[in-house]
């Protein structure tokens, strides 16, 4: 019963955590990007079109269930390519400019998909083929991806690439002086995020049953950023912790009815003020206290 009721929510938490992670990589290199949701939307459209359009009927027939990984792969490649196209010029800019450029990118993308026929216009695409019956079973999609990405993040913090990212975050000029090609590294961090967001989108189209332009709203972009910042931008667990709190919150607050979004806002503000290092930071300091180091 519990799983019936909260199965969707549990998988949604992991799905949103992965989206948060796609912002975490550029942020690791000090770059604030709000583009993830755009690549998520594009990945979703790729999966939705391949799942429903008569153009791909032959593919669906021959590939069978293998269609899903193919969708992920195509979504990833498309996202990486578009990510390079957007990222290379935009990442020459510093500070808040990248955030604004990525907001603009998402807005333009939204208008484009509303006008196109292949994306179903205002209604979007629906009747997307389902690999699983129960929502909770989508854990087989998102769960392994989460584990792989967590391992990847963990490795990354220990490799030269990851250290270069962090050097740029701490001091871009100094990193440049040390011989790090900052633009190259920033693009790399950005594109990892884009590819991930594209795959998550492709997995999400069947998960949500339908896909439309409202998937990439500005609110959704900011929600992803909030997962990372409130979870803890400096820990690989940050996006997951943030998503657990913020995705579950509106559901936990359901009994409040009309007032639940007010409460949600209050939690956001309070978390920003009292958890500047995020939940991960809080947990780390608790652990230090417990082990008597502090």
């Amino acid at each position: 019963m519990f799983l019936d009721n909260y199965g969707f929510l549990m998988v949604a938490i992991i799905q949103q955590a992965l989206l948060g992670m796609s912002l975490w990589y550029p942020l690791m290199a000090g770059q604030l990007s709000l583009a993830s949701i755009g690549f998520y939307s594009m990945g979703g459209y790729i999966a939705a079109i391949m799942g429903t359009s008569p153009l791909f009927a032959a593919w669906r027939e021959t590939l069978g269930p293998a269609l899903y990984p193919v969708e992920w792969l195509i979504a990833m490649l498309a996202s990486v390519l578009l990510g390079l196209l957007v990222g290379i010029p935009a990442l020459r800019l510093r500070g808040i400019y990248l955030a604004l450029a990525t907001i603009a990118f998402v807005q333009v993308l939204n208008v484009v998909v509303l006008v196109l026929d292949v994306t179903g216009g205002a209604v979007g695409l629906f009747g997307i083929p389902q690999p699983f019956e129960k929502r909770i079973a989508y854990l087989w999609f998102f769960g392994p991806l989460l584990i792989v990405m967590l391992l990847f993040s963990w490795r990354l913090t220990r490799t030269v690439a990851g250290r270069s990212f962090m050097a740029i975050r701490e001091d871009e000029l100094a990193a440049q002086a040390m011989g790090i090609s900052t633009t190259y590294e920033k693009v790399r961090a950005f594109v990892i995020g884009c590819g991930l967001a594209g795959v998550v989108g492709a997995m999400s189209a069947p998960f949500l049953n339908t896909w439309n332009a409202r998937q990439s709203s500005f609110d959704a972009s900011v929600a992803c950023l909030a997962y990372v910042l409130i979870g803890g931008a400096r820990s690989i667990w940050g996006p997951l912790l943030g998503a657990i709190l913020l995705v579950a919150l509106p559901e936990v607050l359901r009994p409040l009815k009309d007032a639940r979004l007010i409460m949600n806002g209050i939690v956001l503000v309070v978390a920003c003020i009292y958890l500047p290092q995020g939940i991960a930071g809080l947990l780390a300091s608790l652990r230090r206290k417990a082990s008597g180091v502090a």
């Binding site: 604030l32 990118f105 807005q107 503000v269 920003c272 500047p276």
Partner: protein, 316 residues
């Protein structure tokens, strides 16, 4: 395209563009002093419009806590506009107190201010819906007294149409911009604000109470946002508690286009985007929302400092 329709587009563009400019100035002032974008500005815009509505009309509709009630008084529109803007100014101050000051006091990551200001926006907008519901409100047509609703000029057999509310918007915006220019350049307080924006530490060494000036900036910013909200509301109606969101995003495009932190830049950016939207052929009307962002993207690639911004190398 004939001369009359060009004139028509210029008029439409300047009128809406001047509101964008006023609204975007609110972002710019805060950005210039704190280096942060206040994402609650769109919510302040909405609240300003509703405050003016409450003062000028004061009837609340079918839904929400205030359903069916009405205020015992109603002010003439110019007074209500003033009152609504002042109230929006105080909302701006509230935003500063709730979302920005606690973070500043702790020296937290400036990115967090982005999330906390959005949190405050969420609170404001949903409180508004809680009180007055999600339905559409609008100012009655007699609000500008005996002025005609619109004027028609015939030129070479073509029609030039001017809504009175467009002219009012243009005039109010112009007066507001001049007043702001005078305030920033001619008064002690304005100069102190500029000094604080230039360099907060030096300013505080010079004996300027930085905290007070930050508060004043948020007040002015909020009042500008509320004024813009009212002007849009007077022209097109108040389409629910969320109607400020798309203006909030468009305002971002305006300030980047003009140059982050540049006051003349915000004005120029507003007008350019207003004109750009007006000259979009009517058949492409559904692309209108994209105009501002395409411009933003192009300017970032061609001239990242914006039309009037200065090239600076900042350490982030």
């Amino acid at each position: 395209m004939n001369i009359v329709s060009i004139l028509q587009n210029i008029l439409n563009g300047l009128s809406i563009g001047s509101v964008y400019a006023i609204f975007a100035l609110g972002y710019t002032l805060v950005f210039s002093i704190l280096g942060i974008i206040n994402f609650a500005h769109g919510a302040v815009f909405t609240l300003g419009a509703y405050c003016t509505y409450a003062l000028a009309v004061g009837d609340f509709g079918l839904n929400g806590l205030l359903a069916g009630t009405s205020l015992p008084f109603s002010l003439p529109f110019p007074l209500a506009l003033l009152g609504g803007s002042v109230m929006a100014g105080f909302v701006g101050v509230l935003v500063e107190r709730l979302a920005f000051r606690p973070l500043r006091a702790k020296g937290a990551d400036p990115l967090l201010a982005l999330v906390s200001s959005l949190g405050v926006a969420l609170i404001l907008v949903n409180c508004l819906q809680f009180l007055v519901g999600a339905e559409i409100y609008s100012f009655p047509s007699g609000i500008f007294g005996s002025l005609p609703m619109a004027m028609i000029f015939k030129m070479d057999g073509k029609i030039l149409a001017v809504r009175t509310v467009q002219l009012i918007i243009l005039c109010v915006s112009l007066v507001m911009l001049l007043a702001l220019a005078w305030f920033m350049n001619r008064t002690r307080m304005g100069k102190a604000l500029q000094a604080t924006a230039e360099n907060p530490e030096t300013a505080s060494l010079l004996g300027i109470n930085v905290d007070r000036y930050i508060l004043s900036t948020f007040f002015i910013s909020g009042a500008l946002g509320g004024l813009a909200g009212t002007l849009i509301g007077a022209s097109f109606g108040l389409a629910g508690p969320y109607f400020g969101v798309s203006y909030g995003l468009k305002g971002l495009a305006v300030i980047v286009l003009g140059g982050l932190g540049s006051i003349p830049g915000a004005v120029l950016g507003g007008l350019v985007i207003g004109l750009g939207e007006a000259f979009l052929p009517p058949d492409y009307s559904s692309m209108k929302e994209a105009v501002a962002f395409v411009m933003l993207f192009v300017i970032l690639l061609a001239r990242p400092q914006g039309l009037l911004g200065q090239q600076t190398i900042q350490k982030v």
